[in-house]
Symmetry: C2
Subunit: 439 residues, 2 copies
């Protein structure tokens, strides 16, 4: 296996031979084999060990074991102890998810703060097959069937072509020492069931099971890459990234046959589920929308516009301004006051206000559906919503419009128009300029 | 299940409600349930039964059973008896493959010769899952994981959303009668092993197994369709179909990131296996080639050219012409003789030959690498290959070049040039025109 490993490094992981890296080392058989292979290949690396404090004295013994091994072999050693239970509780995660989150956050920190360029893990072919099966049981798509990725940014996995049996065989033949792997012992029921019940049956049915899965992962990754190329091309053609918004041109999308699948790919990280409903938006009237947990997708004229939902706390947020020296930083920038002469130059980012009318405290908040004001030059009142609609502001932007008010009235539809009642009556008069400084 | 079936027809198979169709009916539980569902849905159909003569008396009993059922229910009935063993032996196929070939050939004949527009089969979700698993064991790509297709031209499969358990449950509850299905009993070892060992383990692990697979097949088919759209688009951009040849522009292909995967998709039905070697052709010199069982792929100037290999019998084929009234029809058209006046007009499809030199029998054959001739106007001899190369004929076409010879010399490099020694000496002389009539 050593020579196969070295060949595999040359073919696929040449960066590891030219740089120094960390090995995520639990002390289990997989990571001890990986460490031994790297040691015998004379690579430049250090060990990184996580103590999740999940098995009390055993976890400390694992840590001591890896530390001792590093010392004996003259390898640099990093370790960190986590209060996994507390973190899981605080973040409302399962112990598994918490450990994973803590582990990878620490690994990234290490890569940032040390001389090491990469971190490698001992994930192997059986892990990849188990992930494939778990995703299968969940009703996955193509992406879920491509196995564990070889490379994820700075995290590399050079053992993915070897089976668990090969790794254990190498450990035994080379008389390596290891500790029962905590992550194996604590993995979830489904993974263990696959490991101990499903894989043995599959192995019995087909002697070439591992070779088949290597081929499958290769083929599916290749197809996935090609599909991603196509999605990128389509995205360039049909999408506009407009600040926080993704706008999908319906006209351009309609030129493709498989619209629904394309929408799925364009929006797949936005949390939507009911794809039939999403497709229906293509022929809905302006203003119709669907929400996921995190995003809003709206028919908006010629576009489907998608934007991240504000958290509830932000939606009802209101900022208070108590006097002329107050400044408020909010989503759309910063609001501040200046004393100014009357200035005929129209600038939507400035509101010139009659100081006699200014009655602190003022408030900055999102507009509501029943907000009305008298746009400058008009005596009748109009819904803010209708005013913006007439100015061709998109539905999505109308919903996000900020207004500056006092305790009873709208003073300024921010970035658009002031209310007639707050206008400067005498152009010689000193006035207050409210300034929107965009970020 | 009846109402689910009817809903499924409305959603996905509305063509069946508007037309008349055949049911492939073995007499097994699956096809008897399908027949019963169609009967109770008042559809317009007939039964088609194959007797493969594989289980002697039992096969005849099955046939009688289905025939009897059709008679009792006033359904039109078609049947055909096959000598499956003899066909398998003759065509060197397994019994399974032979039965499949015979079955579908007959079904297509029936569709052509009867009033029925479609044929439907009773394949169900478990069949699809088994196909998925079999392909998994073989190391398939995306296409192999999309399950059995719903529709293949005129063959439809409206039971693919139902599991075997649902079907058997329906049969029992409705007290249907059926015969042990010959295709089930005789399926290969792997399928049976999956059915009896793998699926039960998977079912035990995940209660939602069938729902998961329905989702997987949906997702993967959608991705497969999108990928096919992309391949078609790429094909339009990088390929030229030139008669029997597929020419791939290397320059255009090089603009894509995932060249290897694209080549795989462009050439996947041509029998190639060693894709690394195929990719190497992109940077090889003109004339380098790779062969599969059926095709030749050659670096040919700015292109990779792919063409079907001639069978060995055709490669060495030589046609004999015994006198002036003989005609020969061959790959490139037809060769015939005409008497003619000398005609200065140069036409590559005509060869004007001095009748005094014409010495029957003549032969028409592919050029060989050591063929030489004296092109008209030259006294020295030149390799046919070099002559064509100077005329910028592509390597692939040079290999396919025909020559007209007598027993010792080349008379005409067909469609290009005659030999100096056969030219007409006196322009007043009557001459023989050899004419190539292109197809």
């Amino acid at each position: 296996m050593l020579s196969e490993f070295q060949q595999h490094l040359s073919d696929q992981f040449s960066e590891l031979k030219k740089s120094s890296f960390l090995i995520a080392c639990s002390g289990g058989v997989d990571s001890m084999v990986l460490t031994d292979l790297c040691l015998k290949s004379h690579l430049d690396f250090a060990l990184a060990h996580c103590n999740f404090q999940l098995r009390e004295i055993e976890a400390d013994k694992d840590e001591a074991f890896v530390k001792d091994y590093a010392l004996q072999n003259g390898i640099n050693f990093f370790n960190k102890t986590f209060d996994t239970h507390a973190f899981a509780e605080k973040e409302k995660l399962s112990i598994q998810e918490a450990a994973r989150e803590l582990r990878y956050t620490w690994f990234k920190e290490l890569l940032k703060n040390t001389k090491y360029d990469y971190l490698i893990t001992a994930h192997h072919l059986n892990d990849s097959i188990e992930t494939f099966m778990i995703n299968l049981f969940r009703g996955t798509g193509l992406a879920g069937l491509t196995g564990i990725p070889n490379k994820n940014d700075k995290i590399l996995r050079p053992l993915l072509v070897f089976s668990r049996a090969q790794i254990e065989d190498y450990a035994n033949k080379n008389e390596l020492k290891w500790k029962e792997d905590i992550t194996n012992a604590s993995t979830k029921y489904v993974r263990n069931a696959i490991r101990h019940e499903v894989t043995p049956i599959l192995e019995k049915q087909t002697p070439q099971l591992y070779a088949s899965f290597l081929k499958i992962f290769d083929h599916l990754k290749a197809d996935q890459n090609l599909l991603n190329d196509y999605i990128s091309q389509i995205k360039t053609e049909v999408c506009i990234e407009d600040g926080q918004k993704l706008k999908i041109s319906i006209k351009k999308l309609e030129t493709y046959t498989n619209k629904k699948t394309i929408l799925f790919h364009l929006l797949k990280d936005k949390g939507f589920k009911a794809w039939d409903d999403i497709v229906d938006l293509l022929s809905a009237e302006t203003g119709k929308f669907k929400k996921s947990q995190t995003h809003l997708l709206m028919r908006d004229g010629e576009f489907l516009s998608c934007k991240k939902l504000n958290k509830m706390s932000e939606i009802n947020k209101s900022y208070q301004l108590d006097n002329l020296t107050d400044k408020v930083s909010f989503e759309a920038g910063q609001i501040l006051f200046e004393k100014a002469d009357f200035n005929l130059k129209n600038n939507p980012e400035h509101a010139l206000i009659n100081p006699k009318k200014l009655n602190f405290p003022l408030f900055l908040r999102k507009t509501k559906s029943d907000d009305k004001f008298s746009p400058l030059g008009m005596t009748s009142r109009k819904r803010v919503w209708d005013y913006l609609k007439d100015k061709k502001v998109s539905v999505l932007d109308r919903k996000e419009q900020w207004v500056l008010t006092d305790q009873s009235n709208i003073i300024w539809v921010v970035g658009h128009q002031i209310d007639e009642n707050y206008k400067v009556l005498n152009t010689d008069q000193k006035c207050i300029k409210v300034v929107l400084v965009k970020p």
